[in-house]
């Protein structure tokens, strides 16, 4: 069964970029939906996409899905205690489908057909 794993910024603080990408992708390979609290710039996002293509392969596809989103004090969801806008990143295997139903409210349909919804 697919699990959602929240990774706080303090948990990955100090990790070199390469180790951070491996840390994320290892979890995606274990069929987890990763929600990472970290401000990834465009260059880091590109590198994560490239590493995902090199590392993540399932029975029907290669790569990852990746959606950055922002949580503020105004958002009513699981994550509510932020004093300022914080970037989170929703990362799944490439064969999952991510759709954003409304701001901060995502549905993920996994390769095996599970449908998981969460409002962040």
């Amino acid at each position: 069964m697919t699990q959602i794993e929240f990774i706080t910024s303090s948990r990955v603080e100090g990790l070199p970029d390469g180790n951070l990408y491996d840390f994320i992708l290892d979890r995606v390979l274990e069929d987890r939906i990763v929600v990472l609290e970290k401000d990834l710039d465009a260059s880091q996002q590109m590198e994560l996409i490239a590493r995902g293509l090199e590392k993540v392969a399932t029975d029907s596809g290669i790569g990852i899905n990746f959606v950055p989103f922002y949580v503020t004090t105004h958002v009513n969801g699981i994550i509510r205690s932020k004093q300022q806008e914080v970037q989170f990143n929703l990362i799944t295997s490439g064969t999952s489908k991510i759709s954003e139903n409304q701001e901060g409210h995502f549905s993920v349909e996994t390769e095996s057909g599970e449908l998981i919804s969460a409002a962040f």
């Binding site: 465009a42 293509l53 029907s60 596809g61």
Partner: protein, 203 residues
């Protein structure tokens, strides 16, 4: 002798690489072929309805880009479309068998990775967007962000304006600080404006 050489170099056209980047099936190869045909008399890439037709970086060197007095010695680069994932089924839906689909996916993957790495080496990027689709896709936003971080000279090309559902003004309003040139690479429309912009940006 050194005076003659410096005179020759002074008169030599400026060299620049112009690279077509963007998501899959935005018309990069169609536009690359238009530019190559207009300035070098021959095409650069194969074009197909099947996604990821371009699976390796293709270059045409010493393209004599000459437009309204601006002369450039261009290296024209067509790149595989960038995507975060490649799905085998996508190819099977276009009639490929399972093994061919898997091989194509592996080649496509390797092509995307090479495109991503190549972004850092580009002088002028033409970012192709499909103007029949909303430009909010994560891949386009990430490409634009990465080019901005690298301080790469960038022109957004809103392609497929010949289609009824095209909305190039949505692309312009999404990237208000950028120059957006609406074109139809297929019909050859809007290319004069694009060539003028390339001459301005690359000079």
């Amino acid at each position: 002798m050194s005076g003659l050489l410096s005179k020759l170099f002074r008169n030599a056209p400026k060299q620049a690489s112009v690279c077509l980047v963007g998501e899959v099936n935005t018309g990069k190869s169609t536009l690359a072929n238009r530019i190559a045909k207009d300035f070098a008399g021959e095409e650069l890439s194969e074009v197909s309805e099947i996604p990821h037709e371009t699976r390796e970086i293709k270059k045409m060197e010493h393209v004599d880009f000459n437009i309204e007095g601006a002369k450039l010695d261009l290296t024209l680069v067509d790149t595989p479309g960038i995507a975060t994932a490649v799905n085998f089924k996508e190819f099977m839906e276009h009639g490929l068998g399972q093994e061919d689909a898997m091989n194509r996916a592996k080649e496509a993957t390797s092509g995307i990775v090479s495109s991503i790495k190549f972004l850092k080496e580009v002088d002028v990027a033409l970012v192709l967007m499909d103007s029949t689709k909303p430009p909010f896709d994560q891949v386009s936003l990430t490409i634009m962000g990465a080019l901005e971080m690298n301080k790469t000279k960038t022109i957004i090309v809103a392609n497929k304006t010949d289609l009824e559902e095209a909305n190039a003004s949505l692309i312009q309003s999404t990237f208000p600080h950028m120059k957006v040139i609406p074109i139809s690479a297929l019909k050859g429309e809007g290319l004069d404006l694009l060539y003028e912009e390339i001459a301005t940006v690359a000079a």
